[in-house]
């Protein structure tokens, strides 16, 4: 049975595909902002701190995604507070959050039954195990993320790319920066479920980098990155289904191949332009 036939016949695969779609939107919308502002390390820090929330939730018997959400938002707010209020070195704090989050998560998971299975699913993603409730939560987080961005797009862009000017115009840059970090945190939570926290950075950066090869403007970049992420998720899922491979890792490899193909196409186009000139 081909992937498309299976998608038609098995409701669980339709839920998986919907989860993939939610991930593609999260990656496509947030990725270009993160890549353009060179904040991939920060996204990685939030992603790894999420393990602490996942582990504690698992230990307490609470929904893991809720734990992930609380940990991601708390990390985002901590980074925002440190960089805006106490002028702490952001990189140092992110590095600390990264390590401490993982340490807390590993200890908490070690106290709970089924430790190794759960740790691997959080680290490498468990898209094929997605449930209807999880997908609804992912879609809800996406809606919240898109709503926040729609409300604040213009002042947020000014805050991210020229904070001094935005502040001069009376824009509450601290509030908007914190809001942006929360949006990144929401996207990270959505993506952790798909590709696992180890590979979140790949889905945040690769589709955005692919989109950036074709367009220099943010709205176009977001659309193209959504398309690139959707293609990577779809082809990755199909390949993982056909070859019985881990879905998260296959999706990340597809995103990387797409980026390499984009680089090659751009190189060929530039060469052709130079020859014809």
């Amino acid at each position: 049975m081909t992937f498309l036939q299976a998608l038609w016949h098995y409701p669980f695969l339709q839920i998986v595909m919907l989860a993939g779609l939610a991930s593609a939107v999260a990656s496509g919308v947030v990725g270009p902002l993160v890549v353009s502002r060179r904040l991939a390390f920060m996204a990685g820090g939030i992603a790894h701190s999420v393990l602490g929330g996942l582990g504690i939730a698992h230990w307490l018997g609470a929904p893991p995604l809720l734990g992930a959400l609380l940990a991601a938002v708390a990390s985002a707010l901590l980074i925002a507070f440190a960089s805006l209020r106490i002028r702490e070195n952001e990189d140092m704090l992110i590095g600390a959050l990264w390590a401490v989050g993982m340490a807390v998560g590993i200890i908490a998971l070690a106290q709970a039954p089924g430790y190794s299975v759960n740790l691997m699913s959080y680290l490498l993603g468990s898209l094929l195990m997605a449930t209807r409730d999880q997908v609804m939560l992912m879609l809800g987080l996406n809606a919240l993320m898109l709503g926040l961005l729609w409300l604040s797009y213009r002042p947020l862009a000014a805050t991210l790319f020229d904070p001094e000017f935005a502040a001069l115009r009376g824009v509450p840059t601290g509030l908007l920066y914190a809001c942006f970090l929360i949006v990144v945190a929401l996207a990270v939570v959505v993506l952790v479920h798909t590709v696992g926290l180890v590979m979140v950075m790949a889905l945040v950066t690769l589709p955005a980098a692919t989109a950036r090869l074709g367009t220099a403007r943010l709205p176009g970049m977001m659309l193209a990155a959504c398309g690139a992420a959707l293609l990577a998720v779809s082809v990755g899922l199909a390949t993982a289904y056909a070859g019985d491979l881990p879905a998260g890792a296959t999706i990340v490899l597809c995103a990387a191949l797409l980026y390499l193909a984009g680089l090659l196409i751009r190189h060929l186009m530039e060469r052709r332009r130079r020859l014809s000139a």
Binding site: A158, F161, D162, R169
Partner: protein
């Protein structure tokens, strides 16, 4: 009859960094009518610091700044400010029009752009002769075009005063002359304070010239000051006390 407050009044303003390095001291000045004011002086003399104090990006360690009839914090939103080294990244993924539209931002940041905003953006683009560049991104612009874009963004805010730090720094001679002519025309109705090193280029258009110099000698303990310089055409007192 009530007296009109000055556009800008500095009273014994001083500024130094936390490590104790004095930058400006005892600076007094009064601007009472729109004109093009150039601020010159040696590197490190405090020219840019003075503009940043007026823009509210720095706080004086002593003295008082009265701006457009109020305090700096009350009135800074009425300023257009272009920094010498803007924090705007060269590879910002926004179009020139999007960036100029940032001038229409205000404390009601959630507000959508209306017809009036777009008209003001069009006017600012036209005033700086960059209408045809509005769809491009900053990365594809020359240094001079980028400078014009930043001034257009400041103008789009419909400011009551413009503060420009080295506006001609990235321009060739012809570009600088054209920009100075544009600024001189704007200064008929809009006070402009401009830091510049190139007095020769600015001279024909100036309404006033100020000299800001940080005294480098610690022995004398002389602190920096503003020295208004007589201008052959304007003959205007700079209000130095």
């Amino acid at each position: 009859m009530a007296l009109t407050p000055p556009l800008l009044r500095l009273e014994r303003v001083a500024f130094g960094y936390a490590d104790g390095t004095p930058i400006l001291s005892d600076v007094s000045y009064c601007l009472d009518a729109p004109r093009l004011v150039a601020i010159s002086g040696p590197n490190g003399g405090g020219k840019s610091t003075l503009l940043r104090l007026i823009a509210g990006l720095l706080t004086p360690s002593r003295g008082n700044i009265e701006l457009l009839g109020g305090t700096v914090s009350q009135q800074r939103h009425r300023l257009g400010y272009v920094a010498q080294h803007p924090t705007l990244q060269a590879d910002t993924p926004l179009s020139v029009r999007d960036i100029v539209a940032q001038g229409r931002l205000d404390a009601r940041w959630w507000r959508r752009l209306g017809r009036n905003d777009h008209a003001r953006i069009d006017e600012a683009l036209a005033a700086l002769q960059i209408t045809e560049l509005q769809g491009r991104t900053p990365r594809s612009l020359s240094g001079g075009q980028r400078q014009r874009m930043l001034i257009a963004r400041a103008l789009a805010a419909n400011p009551d005063m413009l503060l420009l730090d080295e506006p001609c720094a990235h321009l060739d001679r012809a570009g600088g002359d054209a920009l100075m002519a544009t600024l001189a025309a704007l200064a008929q109705r809009l006070p402009i304070l401009m830091v510049t090193h190139d007095l020769e280029q600015a001279w024909p258009h100036l309404g006033e010239l100020l000299h800001v110099e940080r005294c480098l000698s610690r022995r004398s303990l002389t602190l920096p000051d503003i020295h208004p310089t007589a201008h052959p055409t304007a003959h205007r007192e700079a209000g130095h006390r």
